[in-house]
Symmetry: C2
Subunit: 189 residues, 2 copies
DNA sequence: CATGAAAACTAACAAGTGTTAGTTTAGATA
DNA sequence: TATCTAAACTAACACTTGTTAGTTTTCATG
């Protein structure tokens, strides 16, 4: 019963390096050095560099999709659903800021899994859009251009991986709360 | 009197490719093929791959810095200044969505110019922060966590390069207007 | 038509790439 | 102690990388 398999260690280390320089700029020798071994030894645990990227990205994408399914099913108001989406992003991102960098910036280097990833991503965006549209229909949300609202909120949530690590003093519940306030009510007094 | 020098053409083509795959994944042979020539021929016009990246990123970063200086000097209200910042991002981004991808994702591959870029970037963020802090002091802006406001707005503006190309039907003034509405007043009814 | 320069070409380099094959080491179990 | 396996190693592969050197082509100008 090991706490973390060697493979998982490699994937975590890779994610850290991928965040710093991007998938393409990280060599297997870089990764090996960060693990304190030789490049060839990595292949006792993983099958390819590509497999590492797939592991990082697909598991995260599936987490988001599952979270969104749960939110869809709930009978909350549209605003409450949005708050749940914010919490989903804060939770997943804070647990894996390195992986989120790959999800955001290196997805195009997925090979066999690119189509699958893209389908998860567009499904997620479609569900998000539906929440906003329902909110407008119900009179909960301002009738502004839906695409602008969608991408404005989503851009902020997708960038969380960049600044959660820099603001350790801010606890996560506080962060969710401030984010909800800013994204939903704006900053105008 | 040529409309566009060969060097500028190369830089523009490079920016397009860099947006698709990132700086590291684009080879000089890729770039040459996109230009319809051989890789070695590129070196009649540019000195190195690195120089291309520098040209793309530094000119954009300086545009933002200059724009921010102008906004700082103006005697507008804090909210008006924010609206000017939004317009600045919309304008610069819409004119060069490819370059903005490099600015956002490939700056870490700058070599000699990395320190200079970083100083421009943190200066820009500091000026942005000052606008928000003054707005709070003057009672124009809600007294929410400044870092959350700053990075929420900035994340959205920095992501513009991704979705301006997808929403051609939206004209730029309309876009600025909707963005101001969403970022400043929120989406709550 | 001759000429000069800009811009293309071919060929090659040294270094770095992901990955494989085969071997050795270390540590748990029989 | 002997054995087995996981996980490290060395060495090498075929290919790709950015870049240079030297040569040929293109074409506007004298």
């Amino acid at each position: 019963m090991k706490l973390e398999s060697r493979k998982e260690e490699i994937i975590k280390t890779a994610a850290k390096l991928f965040k710093e320089k991007g998938y393409s700029a990280v060599t297997m020798r870089d990764l090996a050095k960060a693990m304190g071994i030789k490049a060839a030894s990595l292949y006792n645990h993983i099958n390819s560099k590509q497999e590492i990227l797939k592991n990082i990205i697909i598991s995260l994408a599936e987490e988001f999709t599952e979270g969104m399914q749960a939110i869809k099913k709930s009978k909350a108001t549209s605003i409450e659903k949005l708050q749940q989406v914010v919490a989903l992003h804060v939770t997943i991102t804070s647990q894996n800021t390195y992986g989120m960098a790959s999800l955001n910036n290196d997805w195009m280097h997925l090979e066999e899994n690119l189509a699958y990833y893209s389908s998860l991503r567009s499904g997620y965006e479609a569900d998000f859009r539906t929440i906003l549209e329902e909110g407008i229909k119900r009179g909960e949300i301002e009738n502004i251009n839906v695409e602008v609202m969608l991408f404005s909120i989503l851009s902020t949530l997708r960038s969380l991986y960049l600044w959660i690590p820099k603001k350790e003093e801010l606890n996560l519940q506080e962060l969710s709360k401030s984010l909800n306030q800013v994204l939903i009510n704006g900053i105008n007094k």
